[in-house]
């Protein structure tokens, strides 16, 4: 497939840069240019009670580390849209944003903003499928006002040749709760980022991620939770598996800002390495300017436990089947958070497809 003119996007910077020979200070994604064909807008399905219109609210600003992706998405996309969930409304049916890329397309970019008004509650599912020449550069911003509850799921299931750059920016006001789930199952080169600012007192936010690298996928993830208000809480949980010759870089940052007294945060990553050619880079950053906090992180990587494999095989499973089971088991706590059953099934199917390498 001939590529359109490309721009090299350098993004996902490390908040505290380190030795350059580690090659972890930033990531690069080659994205196509805008000019070839008309931009196709994402398909947005709104449940009853939810409004959509042009962007009017103040939008969360990106940290410097994610600014290049945000800029590219804003400049290349059509006018941004705003989805508003009215105050005190609990919307059960998820809001769906579907982006399906077609091979001939130029760069697909969009910015959608979700404003959850005080006391509201809703779920947003963003689904990315297909594959195109120019790649994809997307931005989702969300603001959860006082006591609002917002659950955002991004499912990236692009084709094996796709390039993808994406940022989610979230802000939580006092008492609000943000749950963000990033599932990365496809693509050739992906640079995803997510930044949650817990601004209001007693706000909370969790960032969960599930990724699966296969073929020669290069996955670059940049996650951050900033604890700004007092008594804020939030965890980053990442579960992944790397197969074939895939590569993954994860920077996860817990940033305790001075003044966030009583804040609590945990970061936890577990990676299953399934072949001896994978490349796994992790940098769990813990930044702290406030003494009255509890922050911790833990990272574990390795092969699936040999004892477990043997046990499953002694019950008749092939090594591959046993491996697949162990990987799925590792993913289950996060898959369970995908409220939409159909989507969860699609994900499990995809995982099984990738893992069936006999």
């Amino acid at each position: 497939m001939k590529r359109a003119d490309t721009m090299n996007l350098k993004t996902n910077y490390m908040q505290v840069p380190t030795w350059s020979w580690l090659k972890i200070n930033s990531a690069e994604v080659a994205l196509g240019n805008q000019e070839i064909e008309e931009q196709k807008a994402p398909v947005i399905i709104l449940p009853y009670g939810v409004q959509m219109g042009p962007l009017t609210a103040a939008v969360p600003q990106p940290p410097e580390s994610l600014a290049p992706t945000v800029k590219a998405a804003r400049e290349s996309g059509a006018a941004p849209k705003q989805i508003t969930i009215p105050a005190e409304q609990t919307i059960i049916e998820p809001i769906r944003i579907q982006i399906d890329l077609k091979p001939g397309d130029s760069l697909a970019a969009e910015h959608v903003h979700i404003q959850a008004e005080p006391g509201s509650s809703a779920t947003v599912i963003v689904q990315l499928t297909g594959e195109n020449l120019g790649g994809h550069c997307g931005l989702i911003t969300c603001t959860a006002e006082e006591d609002a509850r917002l659950h955002l799921i991004k499912a990236q299931m692009l084709g094996a040749g796709a390039t993808h750059a994406h940022v989610i920016l979230g802000e939580a006001a006092a008492g609000a709760d943000l749950q963000i789930l990033d599932v990365e199952l496809g693509g050739a080169t992906s640079a995803s980022g997510c930044n949650i600012r817990l601004r209001g007192k007693e706000s909370s936010g969790n960032l969960d991620c599930l990724y699966l690298g296969s073929g020669s996928t290069t996955l670059d993830l940049n996650y951050r939770i900033a604890y700004e208000g007092a008594l804020t809480e939030g965890d980053i949980t990442v579960r992944g598996a790397l197969a074939d010759e895939s590569r993954k870089t994860l920077r996860s940052t817990l940033d305790f800002i001075t003044g966030a007294a009583g804040a609590k945060g945990r970061e936890d990553e577990a990676v299953l390495a399934l072949s001896d050619k994978v490349r796994n880079l992790s940098s769990p950053l813990l930044l702290c300017g406030e003494d009255d906090v509890e922050g911790q992180h833990a990272t574990n990587t390795g092969r699936p436990d040999q004892e477990k494999l043997f046990y499953l095989m002694s019950r008749g499973l092939t090594e591959n089947e046993a491996c697949r089971l162990i990987v799925e088991a590792s993913f289950t706590p996060i898959l369970d958070k995908v409220a939409d059953e159909a989507l969860r099934d699609t994900m499990i199917q995809r995982i099984r497809e990738v893992m069936r390498r006999d």
Binding site: T18, L22, G259, D276, S282, C288, V293
Partner: protein, 468 residues
């Protein structure tokens, strides 16, 4: 009887902030030029190959940029730093032959006592030359060589030539290049195969002249199956002009050998401590780093272990205490290059009164390092909200057959723990002091008694019977 003070106080500086009148025979003009470098080499009667290394390093120094990460080094003006200072005393084997004020300084720092009581040999560095050296007869009989670098370059020329600046290369960063050009002084240790050095070898640095930089080079070569413990301790008095320390430590741990390298860095508050340390470990060898960083204005220090041979091991235990006006960027690097290698890292830091402690590390597992293991545990204690503590670890794993674990924690002393100790009669300050002492205990217990005591003094804790 008056009760002893027990506070989680500042590092006690008064004992160390003694200035001697400028005791310098010879001072190179400020700034670094080729003439200066030739001057230094000629003054030491060095062989041609060493001069070549110096000149090549000088070239690299001009070519390389300042580091693009870490603390800002804007306060460093190289043209102001007098790189080489030779104190007014020739080297001697007999303590009583040293000039009185130099002896007095070392007396106050407790060196001769230490030497007699528990340590095998001591080399004390005063400004840029090693002034005093002694080595016990026993060690001489075993064939252990412990001398200063200047002597080693001449007397053990081949050995030094094979190892000098081969582990730390002058192309790596600007301050290693500077070091290669103007290095002076330091220790050379050679332990033959199979020898166990029964007691620790220690060396003591001191920086006296205002604006002087210290560029000592330590080179240790451990023969197969040997066992050695080397202790390095540093101190410098306070001055207005920024002092620079860009030393280098190269450790060669051969097959089956064990080397423990302990350091307590207590440089004074105007010091820029940009040290480079690296160990290469062959088959079944072990390197143990024990590191306490308390002083200096800015430190960038990351002892590195290269696990080259199968079954090689590295253990790192470190404590960093950052207080007023300090930015201490410390950590460690490990590279696993062979199968069955293992590394453990245990790092603790304390930040107080606006101090900034940064833990920075890298653990790299090469594709050939099958069945390797690495475990990292970091804990940071924040004592107030004026200070900062940042943890920046990186793991780069290039094989599936590796077991890697990393944990870090940050927080303050638990109020419940303070209350518990207070209910047993300790004041709040005493309780905090005891908890902080307990916090750094993993490093204290790895040091010989003399240094453990010094370490606790450094934290200002004077609980009776607190060690052991």
């Amino acid at each position: 009887m008056e009760r002893k003070r027990t506070q989680a106080e500042e590092i006690e500086r008064t004992l160390y902030d003694i200035r001697d009148p400028e005791n310098t025979l010879y001072k190179v003009e400020s700034g670094i030029t080729e003439e200066i470098v030739r001057d230094i080499s000629a003054g030491k009667n060095e062989p041609g190959w060493m001069l070549d290394i110096r000149l090549d390093s000088l070239k690299k120094f001009y070519e390389l940029d300042m580091p693009k990460w870490g603390p800002s080094l804007h306060e460093l003006d190289m043209s102001q730093i007098v790189t080489y200072v030779r104190p007014n005393a020739p080297m001697t084997d007999n303590w009583s032959e040293l000039p009185e004020d130099i002896v007095r300084t070392f007396d106050r720092l407790g060196i001769p006592k230490a030497e007699q009581e528990s340590l095998s040999g001591v080399g004390a560095q005063y400004d840029s030359e090693v002034v005093y050296h002694s080595i016990q007869d026993e060690l001489l009989a075993q064939g252990v060589v412990y001398t200063d670098m200047d002597t080693a370059v001449r007397v053990y020329e081949d050995l030094v030539r094979d190892h000098f600046m081969k582990l730390l290369k002058n192309t790596e960063h600007k301050f290693l290049a500077l070091h290669g050009a103007v290095w002076s002084g330091g220790s050379f240790v050679y332990v033959p195969d199979g020898v166990e050095v029964a007691m620790p070898l220690q060396s003591y640095f001191r920086l006296n002249a205002p604006g002087a930089g210290q560029f000592e080079h330590t080179l240790i070569v451990c023969g197969k199956g040997s066992k050695t413990h080397f202790i390095e301790g540093c101190s410098a008095p306070r001055y207005n002009v920024v002092n620079l320390h860009a030393g280098a430590v190269e450790l060669y741990v051969n097959e089956g050998a064990t080397l423990r390298y302990s350091t307590i860095e207590n440089w004074s508050r105007n010091m820029m401590n940009l040290n480079s340390k690296r160990a290469v470990v062959e088959k079944d060898g072990t390197i143990e780093w024990v590191s306490g960083t308390f002083g200096s204005h800015i430190t960038m220090l990351y002892p590195m272990s290269v696990l080259k041979g199968e079954g090689a091991r590295s253990e790192f235990t470190g404590v960093t205490f950052a207080s007023v006006g300090q930015e201490l960027d410390t950590g460690t690097k490990v590279t696993h290059l062979a199968p069955n290698t293992s590394s453990t890292i245990s790092s603790k830091s304390i930040s107080k009164d606006g101090g900034k402690a940064i833990y920075r590390s890298s653990v790299r597992i090469a594709p050939e390092a099958k069945n390797s293991k690495s475990s990292v545990v970091c804990e940071s204690l924040m004592m107030d909200s004026d200070s900062r503590s940042d943890t920046v670890p990186v793991m780069d794993i290039q094989t599936d057959d590796a077991d890697i674990g990393h944990e870090a924690k940050i927080g303050r002393i638990s109020e419940e723990s303070i209350f518990y100790l207070m209910t047993r009669g300790l004041t709040e300050e005493e309780a905090k002091a005891m908890i902080v002492r307990g916090f750094v205990e993993p490093v204290t217990k790895e040091l010989p008694l003399e240094y453990a005591l010094e370490m606790n003094r450094l934290i200002g804790l004077e609980l009776e019977g607190s060690i052991g």
